[in-house]
Symmetry: C2
Subunit: 232 residues, 2 copies
Amino acid sequence: MTFREIFERFASRYLPGNQSDAALLRYQSLARAIEAKPDSPVRLDENCDHLAFVCCGATKLVAHASGGREQIVAFHFPDELVVVPARAEHAYTLSSVKGSELLVFDYQELLDLARNDPLVLRMLLDCSRKSLIRCRNKSLALGRKTAAERVASFLAGMAVRIGMPEDDCVFLDLPMSRRDIADSLGLTVETISRQITQLRSLDIVSTVGKSGVRIDDLRGLEARAGYLIASG
Amino acid sequence: MTFREIFERFASRYLPGNQSDAALLRYQSLARAIEAKPDSPVRLDENCDHLAFVCCGATKLVAHASGGREQIVAFHFPDELVVVPARAEHAYTLSSVKGSELLVFDYQELLDLARNDPLVLRMLLDCSRKSLIRCRNKSLALGRKTAAERVASFLAGMAVRIGMPEDDCVFLDLPMSRRDIADSLGLTVETISRQITQLRSLDIVSTVGKSGVRIDDLRGLEARAGYLIASG
DNA sequence: CGGCCTATTGATTAGCCTCAACCCACGTGG
DNA sequence: CCACGTGGGTTGAGGCTAATCAATAGGCCG
């Protein structure tokens, strides 16, 4: 994809429709397209925050702790936005999960340009609030849910975000490895594997190759997710 | 405190200084003061999001899972803002930790009023982004840190937020109970207790009564917090 | 001073991690 | 076309961390 196409896609989704061509160009001049190879960190200026638009592929925002431990704080799929904090201040890295094309802004520059544009500000606010809700839900899972519940919640969440409805079930083509899932759920690859095996033996999901998961019983999955609502 | 005083305090901290009296009054008309007793949920309309300004006391935002399990997703101290999602949609409750005085807005109404006020929008954006960073850090702790590291991180974080510097050390008067700390760190009260005992025996902290904690060795505390930066 | 609730301490258990082996799909080169 | 190597995924055995269960201690109220 050309830079032009990527920017158009971003603009049509996130910039208000009534922008003048001149205004669009100003936004465009702040943007930079980045192509990221599978499972490689996205190189960004360490001294400032960034806003990234995922055009295609999938990315993960990774938090680092001592001893090489990693926690994936969020995944991002096409047409989603991420706020990436400055590496210098907070130990986070944005990485691609599979090959991805991104559009990246210096967050502060973008904010300055949008200083008097309430529609863009509201868009950013909305994006930030959605991330916050997701992150809070993740905190609940990491703090209080069992391995079985975390995996069920994860799959149920993926079904909403990237699921392809088939007759009476939902098919997932998971872009991330078991290791990524483990790092996202605060577990190990072995535990993920065992839990998926468990779900398979209960006829709740079936797996197709390494990345394919068909959710045959979404109700059953949600019932195991530990939600307060909908499962008591 | 009177409603007037609470609102003034909110306005001076979060509304831009150049607002007309009429504009201030419009904001004021959306606000409602709530006094919350210790450890009791704040009663809010379940069908909409809210923005709460903590005037005094301390609050916690609690996420609920099945089986009565609770995860505290954030604490809030005087002069801080919280976005509380609609209970109807997401299973969250705002509760006071000790007696608190709050100023509460319907989030949507506030946003509508501020629709064309970039300064207020940026303030909200900023607040949302700070919450997001905190929540991401919490995810790292819950997903990948040991009990010892979580408690150390917690105390180090509290030192920044509510610590009172004394000669060569920091004193904390923790407003929350051990149970709250446990629910915040994804642990049990017993584990919290044991970890604090451990820190005491290492001469890193000393405790004064139930709520007092003096951090004698902040460096030592941070070294045990599992941070990537500053501790390798 | 006595009752109550929170915090602490101790003993045991359970869930997940660790370590190790194996399987399988895929790519490579003989 | 098959032997081989590689890397992710799965499965199994044993260990460790934090949970659970139970009892004691200690602050704070009347």
